[in-house]
């Protein structure tokens, strides 16, 4: 595959790894956060950490949209899905995310009509094909996904499809990064910036991170060489005493983002005063909802939404794990109340969450895995 395979070359990775090692000061430990869950996926899928020195650690950030959905919102969506005549639609990612009383898969098993879609436009098509049903799209995702939802609402309005609505859970990455940066016990040396969010918002919005917080940011692509190169760029900045926003993913990310996508978001959505994030609590101006002009397409206006609040369990320390303050096993409920089968916090929800990965594979140190796979 073009624009994919050439960024997965092992020989280049070895050379880059040597350069990364050469940039590390002896005795110094480096911790970088990859903000985006897609990066976490790449790191895991390709075994990228094998190329990093032991003194460089990557911390998985809050950029996994299903992991940060609070349980109450899942319960609200299920309450909508259970109303007569409703078809609830969402992405495959959403199906297994646990709310306070089960997941979409559980609600589907109990009789709700919940369907998986690949695109919000597929949800709109279902609405077109089922004029006597109410079709709701459970919208999740960051700035990358919000424009597609906005375009779909505009399309519905243009075509007059009035049995379609959106349960909007779009969140914004910058307030979450800021919440992490404001933590007094932060231990991060820099950020691997979310490439596909940046394709929409550009690189400029990250400038405050370098300017006000003194942490370098590199917007990175999603192939493993992109990420290795971004780590290399972050280390170069630290070594040279620079602190700025750089763009490694220039083939996709324009410095100013995608103006059309931003315009679509702004036309259809506006900021909520605050929104709850699983593991991080309430963060102000961190999420989007539909504007009044599009209230007819807002599931929160069209349906009785119970507004369930399920507090994150007090003992859950996901926030600390996300900030890199605690290791997964140091959390009070890790492996006892909180397991992959019965996840409490965001880090245990997705299989690539820091805690789920540690729970499943922590007993096998990287060294042991590498030795076992040596030819």
């Amino acid at each position: 595959m073009r624009f994919v395979n050439e960024y997965r070359d092992a020989a280049t990775a070895r050379a880059l790894a040597a350069r990364i090692a050469a940039l590390c000061e002896p005795g110094r430990r480096y911790t970088f956060m990859e903000v985006c869950g897609g990066h976490t996926h790449t790191i895991y899928k390709h075994g990228l950490e094998d190329y990093l020195p032991e003194t460089v650690s990557l911390v998985h950030g809050p950029g996994c949209p299903v992991c940060v959905i609070p349980m109450g919102r899942v319960d609200d969506a299920i309450a909508i899905a259970e109303q007569p005549g409703v078809i609830m639609t969402s992405f495959g990612d959403m199906m297994r995310v646990p709310g306070g009383r089960g997941s979409f898969l559980d609600a589907k098993a109990a009789g709700a009509d919940i369907r998986m879609v690949y695109s919000p436009l597929d949800a709109l098509r279902i609405a077109r094909d089922n004029p006597d049903r109410q079709v709701v799209f459970m919208a999740i995702g960051f700035e990358t996904t919000a424009p597609s939802t906005a375009m779909t609402v505009l399309r519905a309005a243009r075509e007059g499809i009035d049995n379609f609505s959106v349960f909007c859970n779009h969140v914004m990455i910058l307030p979450a990064i800021k919440a992490i940066l404001d933590s007094p016990d932060l231990r991060l040396d820099g950020f691997i910036g979310p490439g596909h969010v940046s394709a929409v918002i550009g690189c400029r919005p990250y400038e405050f991170i370098a300017r006000d917080y003194g942490k370098p940011v590199v917007c990175a692509g999603f192939e493993p060489l992109d990420i290795l190169r971004s780590v290399h760029m972050l280390l170069s900045q630290l070594a040279e005493g620079r602190c700025e926003v750089e763009n490694q993913y220039t083939r996709v990310v324009p410095w100013d983002g995608n103006p059309r996508a931003l315009e679509a978001i702004n036309r259809v959505m506006h900021l909520r005063p605050y929104f709850e994030w699983r593991g991080l609590g309430f963060i102000s101006h961190s999420a989007l909802r539909l504007r009044e002009e599009y209230a007819a397409y807002d599931a929160e206006q069209r349906f009785e939404v119970p507004g369930v609040r399920v507090a994150d369990p007090k003992a859950c320390q996901c926030g600390e794990v996300l900030k890199g303050v605690l290791k997964p096993w140091e959390c009070k409920v890790f492996g006892t109340a909180c397991t992959p089968e019965t996840p409490i916090g965001t880090c245990m929800v997705s299989s690539e969450g820091a805690c789920a990965a540690y729970y499943n594979f922590g007993r096998f140190t990287r060294r042991r895995v590498m030795e076992a796979t040596r030819v």
Partner: protein, 368 residues
């Protein structure tokens, strides 16, 4: 580093080890069915299916033959050894590129017998039909079943029909049973698997699962991919003729190659190390998987199998497979190790390593 730090570190290591030991104990416990209702995940072949089979069915029916949890049971009858299996087919759509529910049912049942080391002989076919189902479609399905049976030299010798009210089934379901005879002196099973064995796959993986996902039409994707559904008696026969040191055969159906290898690693208490660059995947299957964010290792095949063979005979086994049309792209994809037991590890094309875990449920298309 100060002495205090050293003490801290040592204390940390002890605490971490205690946490890991507790998890290991939890893991060793028998799986429990915690769910109040059956969800689709229970049918997907992953962790939820395991919990259902081991925590519910095995509890009710446990006996030494069933406890093996192989694709087919091997039973001794009147001085001979018989393989006996049952399977159900609920595929949607009923007709898809490369096959339909009819040949899928016959081939799938035959394959369960074949990977037990048996020569398939007789099948049963039970039909659960929905009121209103097209007779022309049923005729098409039975014709392709008959053709598949003839190709494999087996006979459908008994059957059953039930019709349920409209809406109580999805057109047509087929349940089968199969009987075969073990004529070769081979013993196959996870008990035979040893460190040093080679792991071989008989051809490109994921064709069937991706074909079905596309054929459902919900994803609006088009590609020239057809199901690999095929009866494996010929190609397995060719392998067993050429190499006597075959230790295990499994068809890589539900849950794909990753699930089969995890079952082997767990049951045989061995490690399995596979090499991503060696695993055959068609470009279009790879493309569809990238687009949908799923891993071909977990996608179902209906005409591919995994063979675990004494490492010294790996080349001979691959040569024998490649000489058969259904094994042309057979390849050694990895080997069995003694450490770490119960785990499947992948050496990635990028040059890293990772654990290949069992999935909880179906591989779902993802956007993140």
């Amino acid at each position: 580093m100060t002495l205090e730090h050293e003490v801290d570190r040592a204390g940390d290591a002890t605490r971490e080890r205690r946490v890991l030991e507790r998890i290991e104990q939890l893991r060793q416990r028998k799986p429990k069915v915690r769910d109040e209702r059956i969800t689709l995940a229970h049918g997907a072949g992953g962790k939820a299916t395991h919990a259902l089979v081991e925590g519910l069915f095995l509890e009710a029916f446990s006996n030494p033959i069933l406890d093996e949890l192989d694709d087919g049971a091997v039973v001794s009858v009147a001085g001979g050894r018989l393989a006996f299996t049952t399977d159900s087919f609920v595929v949607s759509p009923l007709f898809f590129p490369g096959g339909d529910i009819g040949d899928l049912a016959v081939n799938g049942t035959i394959n369960d017998l074949v990977v037990s080391g048996a020569r398939p002989l007789y099948l049963s076919a039970g039909f659960i039909l929905e009121e209103g189902f097209s007779v022309a479609d049923l005729r098409r399905i039975t014709a392709s079943m008959a053709a598949a049976a003839t190709r494999a030299g087996v006979h459908v010798v008994t059957g059953d029909t039930k019709v349920v009210q409209r809406g109580r089934a999805d057109g047509c379901y087929i349940t089968t049973a199969g009987i075969g005879v073990l004529e070769r002196p081979v013993t196959l099973g996870t008990g035979q698997v040893r460190p040093g064995d080679a792991v071989i796959v008989s051809g490109p993986i994921g064709d069937h699962g991706v074909t079905i996902m596309i054929a459902r039409g919900e994803l609006d994707i088009e590609a020239d991919i057809t199901s690999d559904t095929a009866a494996l008696h010929g190609v397995v026969g060719a392998l067993l003729d050429a190499v006597s040191a075959v230790h295990l055969l499994r068809d890589a159906t539900r849950g794909g190659v990753a699930t089969v290898l995890n079952e082997v690693a767990r049951a045989a208490r061995v490690g399995v190390v596979i090499d991503e660059t060696a695993i055959p995947v068609r470009p279009a299957v790879h493309g569809a998987c990238e687009l949908l964010g799923i891993d071909p290792l977990y996608v179902a095949c209906e005409g591919r199998f995994i063979a675990v063979v004494d490492g010294a005979y790996a080349d001979a086994a691959v040569a024998a497979l490649r000489a058969h049309p259904l094994g042309e792209q057979a390849a050694v994809i990895g080997h069995v190790t003694d450490d770490p037991p119960g785990l499947v590890l992948l050496r990635t094309a990028f040059g890293g390593t990772r654990v290949v875990d069992t999935l909880v449920g179906d591989p779902l298309p993802r956007i993140c």
